[in-house]
Structure formats: C-alpha cells, structure tokens
C-alpha cells in the first residue's frame, strides 16, 4: 500500500507541520523548567478534586488580593470536573462578595453563583498604582498563556504525547524559583525580586508563598498534605489550569470515545474498501 518513498514523504510532511512555534522559543536562552507529574496530563488525565480545593484556598487567601479571574463564575466551582464544591457552599461563598450592579441599591449587591469573580482593582491604573507600576495579570486563562520550551528535537515528541501542561509547569517553576538575593553582577531594580524562570529575571511580584503559610485541613482519608512552598505551588498551578481549562475532563472523556469510534470505523472502511476493490488490479 505504501512504499518507502511514501513513508519518507509522510515523515517529511509531519516534520514540516511540526516545526512550529517551539523552534522560535528554542532560540532565547530558555531557563530549564522541571516538568511535574500532573494528574490532569495524558489521555486519562483528570483533575484531583482535593488538589483543586487546596489550590482554590491559596488563590483566595493569597493570590486574589492582587490577581483577578474575570472569566470565572462562582457557579463554575460547583460544576463537574472542577473542585467539586456543593451548590450551598458556592451560594454562601458568592454572598461574601460584593458585586457592582448599577440596578442595585447603592450600586452593589451580594454575589450570586451566576456572578463572575470580582476584580480586586476597579481599573487597570488602580492595579498598577497598588503594585509599583506592574500589572498583576488576570488568572482566568494564564495557565494556557504560558508554556515550556523543549530543546530540539524533544519538542517533536510533545505532538505525540499531547503535552499541554507547559503552563502549570511554568507557574510551578516560577513560584519555586525565587532567590533571596540576585546573583553576583545582576543589577536588580528597586522593588523587584530575582526569579530563575521569569523572563529577564526581575519580577515585580515579591515571593508570594512561604512554608506553613496556609493551613491545610487534612482530608477525610486523614492524609496530611505537606505545607511547603513546593506543594502550595503545585496546588495553585493545578487550580489555575482548571480555571483556564474547566472542561478538560469532559473533553478528554469525549475524545477517548471519539478515537475508539474512529479506529473501529477506519477498520470497517478499510475492509469495505478492500472488498470493493477485490478483483481490480490497481
């Protein structure tokens, strides 16, 4: 059916189509980013509910004082494939926040599950003023707006493994990549911190996490999760990935069924085609 030349040509085409963005990223001096084992990686990947709840706790107690998540509605937190909060929990949570509503008395009202996560600052300028001129990025899709660069030719394998966890890997590396002091000879501007993976190394955000900073309550199974910067970073990265891609679990489940179907249908089509062409020399 296919001769050698055909296969070579196919490989050339695959290579051509695969030579995409990563080649560009390969250029700049890319800091090494340690890839983590994420529960949501791979064909059967799903979010770990407990991890998302812990990540949400960090987001709420630490990050959300500066970072918004304008695309996230409170109701999302109770939707399947997410942190798995109950409807009642979400209702109570939403009610703790004040939502700007021009039709409400006084312009604000308590939140309801349908509301979006309120921004910590009214305007972009307010956000900059409160953060030394730097704008804390919105978290809604941040985990998909960051990536990891692999050296040639290793990024080619990503197309076959479906590696889509570059965002959380980067965020984890960033949160664990702070140094108390900049290396010798690095001119760190006033008010900035030194970070291994942040482009240019001088980051406006001071190290946001410290060991033992947030108290985790042990889960029902009694397993105690370590309260370390590394663990906090993993949890909040996972949570940010969920915010960016809340439908990931459903998408992969559907995809698995679609692929099974396609393999079955391809097999049948192959047999049908062969049967029809039987007796025709071609």
């Amino acid at each position: 059916m296919f001769n050698t030349k055909t296969i070579i040509a196919a490989l050339a085409m695959v290579a051509a189509s695969a030579l995409a963005a990563p080649a560009a990223q390969a250029a700049g001096e890319a800091p090494h980013i340690e890839k983590q084992d994420w529960s949501f990686a791979g064909i059967f990947g799903t979010y770990d509910e407990n991890q998302l709840q812990r990540g949400f706790q960090i987001f709420r107690e630490v990050c959300s004082s500066c970072h918004g998540a304008r695309l996230i509605a409170f109701r999302n937190l109770a939707e399947p494939g997410g942190p798995g909060f109950s409807e009642a929990q979400i209702k109570a949570l939403a009610a703790e926040y004040e939502i700007a509503d021009s039709t409400a008395e006084g312009g604000v009202r308590p939140g309801v599950p349908a509301d979006r996560w309120p921004s910590p600052f009214a305007t972009e300028q307010d956000a900059r003023d409160a953060n030394g001129g730097a704008l804390p990025p919105d978290f809604s899709v941040l985990a998909k707006a960051r990536g990891v660069t692999d050296a040639f030719p290793w990024w080619l394998t990503n197309y076959f493994t479906g590696y889509s966890e570059g965002g959380p890997d980067y965020i984890h590396a960033l949160l664990t990549g702070y140094h108390d002091e900049a290396p010798e000879g690095f001119d760190l501007p006033e008010g900035k911190s030194y970070n291994d993976v942040f482009p240019g190394h001088a980051i406006g955000m001071a190290p946001p996490l410290m060991d033992e900073m947030i108290a985790y309550t042990p889960g029902e199974d009694g397993v105690e999760v370590p309260m370390t910067v590394d663990q906090y970073s993993k949890d909040v990265s996972a949570y940010m990935m969920w915010m960016a891609e809340p439908g990931l679990v459903a998408r992969k489940e559907t995809g698995f069924r679609v692929l099974l179907f396609l393999f079955l249908f391809a097999g049948l089509m192959w047999a049908t085609k062969r049967r029809i062409w039987k007796g025709i020399e071609h």
């Binding site: 059916m1 055909t6 070579i8 040509a9 050339a12 085409m13 290579a15 051509a16 189509s17 695969a18 030579l19 995409a20 963005a21 990563p22 080649a23 560009a24 990223q25 390969a26 250029a27 700049g28 064909i43 304008r70 695309l71 999302n76 990025p137 809604s140 899709v141 941040l142 998909k144 707006a145 960051r146 990536g147 990503n158 197309y159 479906g162 590696y163 889509s164 570059g166 960016a244 809340p246 439908g247 998408r251 992969k252 559907t254 995809g255 698995f256 679609v258 692929l259 396609l262 249908f265 391809a266 089509m269 192959w270 049908t272 085609k273 029809i276 062409w277 025709i280 020399e281 071609h282």
Partner: protein, 416 residues
C-alpha cells in the same frame, strides 16, 4: 461529458426533472460514473480530504459566528465564552482552530503530490492555477481568522502582515490605512476581518467548483502520468474512489481528533491567550506553522537590492514565492509527467521538499546568527528550483521508458 452517462430516468417524475434540471444526470456522471484511473494511490485521497475540510471549517465557522463578537473590547472574552459556556463550544472551537492546521497540512500534501506526479502539465494548467488560487485564498482566510480571537499573536499578526503593504512605493501608506481602517490595527480592522473571514470560504468553495470542473475535463492524472487509453484503465468513481476517499478521510480524522481532544492548543501559541496589547510585542512573534516557509522568505531579504530597499525586497520575494507557482506549468517543460520516470527530477524534487521543510524551520527560528545565512540559502534555492533547475532538467534529463498504458503498469506491479 455526457458520453459517460448511463443514466436513463427511471420514473416519470425523474424524466420530468431531467428535462428541466438534469441534476440527477449530472450527479451520476460526475460523482458516480466518472471514469477514474484505477491506479491512483493514497496521495490522491487528499483532494477529497480537502473538500471535507472545507465543509468542516464552514460548518464550525458558522456555528462560532453565532456566539462570537467582533469588537476589540469583547472578542477575546467571547471566544472564552464559547469555550466555557456554549454547549459543546470547546470542541467546536478547537475543531475550527485545529481544523485550519489540518486543512493546510492536507493542502501541502496535495500540492506536493501534484508537483511530484506532474499534475500541473498540459492539459491541466488551468486546474493547477485554480489550485494555487485556492491556496492563496486559504492563506488570506486563515490569516484573518487568526486575528479574530484578538490575543497578542492575533493583534501583532494583523499589525505585521498589514505592514507588508506599506512597503509598496507611493501608495503604501494610504493603502495601509485603507486596509486597517485607521492608523493602527483596531476595531475597524477586527470588524472587517470578521466580515471577510466569513465571506472568503464561500469564494473558496466557488473556486473549488471550478477546480473540479477543470479536473473533469481531462480527467485525473495518475501515478504513471500516462494518459488514459481505454476503459480498461479506469474504474467508475463510485464505489471505487468514494470508498477509498472515505477511508482516507477517516484515517485523516484520527490525528485531527487527537489534537482537538487531547492537545487543542499545541499547534497554536500560548501568547494568544493574552489579550492584545498594542503597547507590548511578545518576545518571539511567529506566524502559524503553515505560513512559516513564506515568512522565512519575507525575512531573508535584509539587504537593499539596487534601488529596492530591504523591506520592499522582502515583500517582492514573499509575493514572488507564491506567484511563481502560477507559472510552474511553463517552467517545467519535460514531456514526462510523473517523477517516477524522471531519475534526475526525483532527486531534485526531494531536495526541494527538504529545502521547504528547512524554510519552515527557519521561519520560526530567530533572525540571528547562522539562521540568517541559512534563510538566505534556502530562499535562493527555493527560487532556483523553479527558475533554474526545472527548466534545465527538462533539457538534460533522459527519462526512463514509460509504460504503454495504465493497465500494463498495474499488471507489472501485481506480479512483482
């Protein structure tokens, strides 16, 4: 081509219809009975795959337009709204975005198949030219579609690509403002790109009709490049090629589904998840992979040529690299169509493929150091292939003997 028709209206109603609108007769002649060489290999299924992809893109695109808002303040969030809230939206959006890449992967295979088997040679020059026209329209459509999510890559792609037109002497700047509807890329740009992105696929569909029309006049080329001599050389399109093409489409759907469901963003760029900010350009801006070879050519001209400055020079070479395809039928004058019987052409063909892949790679590489030199060499070779190698080859090369007919060639194959 009514001589192929075996259609006799079965009932009175069919007869009545046939005398007024012979649509059943037409379908039977062109979709079912059409005599097709029986030795077409799987590379020939990409025509059907492309027709399928155009339908996929139009259907998913119409759906997305029901939920998308072409306004700079709302576009980014409306795409996220599709992904998050619309029923099945993440899949439909991913199918459209990944679909663009798959469409181009298929069209490149289709083009390179035509180049290897000499499908552009007489009497199929118009067929080839229409194909190149479709390719150009596809590039315009894909580019404008990429702008619609209004992320960083969208906005900067729009800025960079519209700036190409500013290189044109005298009318450049007024033309640039005309295209953008302003002094910079903004809301008018986005809104008109949306309008044109919706329009162009239907123009493509119309040219595809002409493309198939031009195909059905001489009929298909085939791997031997030898003309069909008798009905023993052909089989009816249905069921032989309908089923083979359908099998090809199903196989094609497997990698397509893989990307849609398991890595929908891997063919894109993370920066496009950052809303467009006209004050900050991303560190590395690269077009989508399918534009990279031509983008590499655009960037390779970083020197003035006589009175032409480097910017205009880049644009001329960029445009020329696509325009030259229109002239391919007259640059390759060899009488033998199929590369299979052209021992020297074969080598240069594969060299051209490698060179094209290299251009793809260089289009994404930063414009510095060794990459700049390589980009110049590969750009030169791209043009040399068409302007020097192909015309020379047809004079120097001694082709291998051709089989007398398609039937003979497949008989030989069956026993080997």
């Amino acid at each position: 081509m009514s001589e192929h028709s075996t259609y006799t209206p079965g009932s009175g109603v069919e007869k009545w219809l046939d005398e007024r609108l012979p649509i059943i007769r037409f379908s039977k002649e062109h979709l079912m009975d059409f005599p097709t060489p029986k030795n077409l290999n799987y590379w020939w299924t990409f025509g059907a795959i492309l027709a399928f992809m155009l339908v996929v893109q139009i259907i998913t695109g119409v759906v997305l337009a029901m939920h998308y808002t072409p306004n700079v303040a709302l576009a980014f969030d409306s795409v996220e709204h599709i992904r998050r809230d619309v029923n099945g939206g993440r899949i439909i959006q991913a199918t459209h975005a990944v679909g663009a890449s798959m469409f181009f992967a298929a069209v490149y295979i289709h083009i390179f198949r035509g180049m290897y088997f000499g499908s552009y040679k007489a009497p199929r020059e118009i067929l080839w030219i229409l194909g190149v026209l479709i390719f150009v329209l596809m590039m315009a459509t894909a580019f404008m579609g990429y702008v619609l999510p209004w992320g960083q890559m969208s906005g900067w792609a729009a800025t960079v690509i519209t700036n190409i037109f500013a290189a044109i002497p005298v009318v450049g700047t007024p033309l640039l403002e005309l295209l953008r509807g302003g002094f910079s890329v903004g809301n008018p740009t986005l809104n008109r790109f949306f309008s044109l992105h919706y329009l162009l696929p239907f123009v493509i569909a119309a040219v595809v009709v002409l493309h198939i029309w031009a195909l059905h006049v001489p009929g298909n080329n085939n791997p031997t490049g030898v003309d069909v001599k008798s009905s023993r050389d052909t089989v009816p399109f249905h069921p032989y090629y309908t089923m083979k093409d359908l099998f090809g489409i199903v196989l094609f759907l497997i990698p397509f589904a893989w990307f849609v469901f398991f890595a929908p963003d891997i063919l894109g760029h993370p920066d496009n998840y950052i809303p467009f900010n006209p004050q900050v350009t991303p560190a590395h801006i690269v077009p989508e992979w399918y534009f990279l070879p031509f983008y590499a050519i655009l960037r390779a001209i970083d020197f003035n040529i006589l009175f032409i400055d480097s910017k205009l020079g880049g644009v001329i070479f960029f445009g020329g690299s696509i325009l030259i395809l229109f002239f391919l039928p007259w640059l390759d004058t060899s009488k033998v169509r199929s590369g299979t019987f052209r021992p020297m052409f074969k080598w240069f063909y594969w060299l051209f493929v490698v060179n094209f892949v290299a251009l793809t790679y260089l289009g994404a590489a930063p414009a510095e150091g060794i990459y700049v030199v390589l980009a110049k060499i590969t750009t030169f070779y791209y043009f040399a292939h068409f302007l020097i190698i192909l015309p020379l080859l047809s004079r120097l090369e001694t082709p291998r003997p051709l089989p007398t007919s398609i039937s003979e060639s497949v008989l030989g194959k069956a026993h080997s």
